[in-house]
Point group: C3
Chain length 286, copies 3
């Protein structure tokens, strides 16, 4: 574990030094938060999704984030073209399978991307991750659908289901040869070998839109110049500790989710690796 934690400062420094250009093809609901999250950690966002230019954008970009939160046939064409080009040029691809499990369209694009392109990391809530497990025909004891794009209540990661969910995450990582991040009050991250839990999240993250999308976006920035497992862990710690501090701020002042959203970005901007390491509640499940 210490071997991993010791690499966090360097991962954060690299983002701030190299300002990776993070190309996001994403949804219009949270796109502004994603751009501001990427800027807050020291990287640069670009949100282009017209198929007439996506190859040129991937060419100058350092990583590519695909978020399927609001698909259209035009965006799907741009997604495929950009993933094709990113796979060819070894540009890391990060997939956020928003709402996977709730429509055929989302299931089809998810399985297509996982199967045919070189995806380095997948980040979803536990309902979406279970939907992927089903698509990949990995055995599942239960069969629960997400609440739209939010996690279903029965799928929220808790101490009690941590080990069971950890196994699912690991199996997907193994089968897809990628890092899988299931985020929630507890995050689970696996590279197909280790399973790591991060217990810094809080329920207020689910009370704003975009906390998951923002995490996927900064994973994109972190994976540009870092080992994908270290980059994913650092992203998850950063986002969930920013969330803890934002909740603390809001609770102290008796404010709500509007302020929470601004403070979350504030702390993404302010947090340094010392504070992340000292506050990080991270441990191996197996």
């Amino acid at each position: 574990m210490n071997k991993i934690i010791n690499k966090i400062p360097d991962a954060m420094d690299k983002v701030k030094e190299k300002n990776p250009l993070t190309h996001c093809i994403t949804n219009f609901v949270t796109v502004n938060d994603c751009a501001n999250a990427i800027l807050a950690i020291g990287a640069s966002p670009i949100m282009a999704d017209d198929d007439a230019e996506v190859e040129e954008i991937v060419e100058i970009a350092d990583s590519l984030v695909i978020n399927i939160g609001k698909l259209s046939k035009f965006q799907i064409a741009a997604i495929k073209k950009s993933c094709e080009y990113a796979s060819k040029t070894n540009t890391p691809i990060i997939l956020d399978p928003v709402g996977c499990g709730i429509s055929k369209l989302r299931n089809e694009i998810t399985i297509d991307l996982i199967t045919n392109y070189n995806i380095q990391a997948i980040r979803g809530n536990m309902s979406e991750v279970k939907a992927i497990a089903r698509l990949l025909e990995i055995d599942l004891s239960n069969n629960i659908k997400g609440k739209g794009v939010d996690v279903s209540k029965d799928d929220i990661i808790t101490k009690e289901n941590l080990s069971e969910n950890g196994e699912i995450v690991k199996k997907i990582a193994l089968k897809t040869n990628s890092i899988v991040i299931a985020s929630g009050p507890i995050d689970i991250i696996s590279d197909g070998n280790l399973i790591i839990a991060i217990e810094n999240g809080n329920e207020m993250m689910e009370k704003i839109t975009g906390s998951g999308c923002m995490l996927s976006s900064i994973v994109g920035s972190f994976l540009a110049f870092n080992d994908p497992f270290i980059g994913s862990i650092t992203s998850s710690l950063l986002m969930s500790i920013a969330g803890e501090k934002a909740r603390e701020y809001v609770n102290n002042k008796n404010l709500g989710t509007g302020t929470f959203r601004s403070k979350l970005i504030d702390y993404l901007f302010l947090l340094d690796s010392d504070e992340i390491i000292s506050k990080g509640n991270i441990y191996l499940i197996e």
Copy 2:
């Protein structure tokens, strides 16, 4: 009046207990605020508008909000398909006729939706509501166009024109068999029988984009499991009292509309039914 007010706590509890999945087909300007407003009151948003999946989304959704703020031919196809499906499955539909009156396109879609689908509630500013009255050939003494998507100065609801505007709102409600909400510094709500005024709004609501769209969105969440008249009244009280508190906060600290926007969401999250009932300035016009 007390009979109505006594039902507010239950309406709010139902949203928090049942977390209605509120499907919004809406514009890209205020979509993030709408999602955060829905989450703040305890419901779940989903913003899908590709016609390849809208039927599946309506299927799992508890209500459907149609906002015509930034139409395209693709969105119109998705709007019709989803309204068709929602009408068939008795999913409540809420219409926000943004900018009705300023273009043929907006007039056509508005009249089409009102005429051919089972709309439960319509929420607009008074310029948009008057434009609908014209489309429905309800007699009008004046003939004023909205200022783009904002209310025209001459259409702002005041004490002086309250009775006249109340009649227009009631006539539309009667003719369309839906709840009509004209919002502004004073809100007017009618079910075609009663006309109710809510005097908790303030001019700062017009100084940010999205206060109207947010209101329509939470009407969507409230109508999923509540009587539509009670749900509309509760939504209107909640939004306008949140606006009062946000303005008070901002004025006390000498801040502006950027902070106002965050605080508005804060108070949507924090307000309980006791405060809403005690602060609500609500009365019957007739």
Copy 3:
């Protein structure tokens, strides 16, 4: 210089009195910030980009802002139609060539708009402005590409390169017969005759998305009823002094970019001409 500064109060008053309806065809990343910025200074935004209605919207609008931050073939059709109509009706057009230089698509639309329509003002970062200089075959000593939609580090306007960059800005203004605004920590504005520098910007403006887009949007509102050079200078002063005050607020409280973004809009709303004139660090380069 005093002749220019003396006209600022009147320019600001005109926006607040006439509430110009500012029609923006823009990107989905920062559209909400643009609408709120326009409202904060006292104007009205409308963000319509379907070609079925853009002519009617231009007809009622007082100015047209074209931002190419997230193009699609459908938006391009709407852009051309609206620019055609605006040129015919003498509606001021403001161009924000977001990401010009990074793709053929963006270069083509930029040169097309500059060449074929009556553009009154162009606002970009120095990388975008240099890309335009190249497209117009104005001689350039170096040849640097923007960092996606952000300015490249080598293109940031500083005291050292101010005179050289000022010449480029002036040459474009002369050749295109429009006002050119290159914004950054220092802004350069030229009407093809004078070159003016405004030194009120700060590096935090680049740490949020949308500060450039917002500036272009309020230039749109200011150009509706004002002399374009005065309107551009006033917009630039307003935005950069709002940025100064927002940074001061955030630094005093040890907060970050999330709060900075809200405060920027607050100060756009709060600033008056006295404070702008007293704080404005504005001077002639030549």
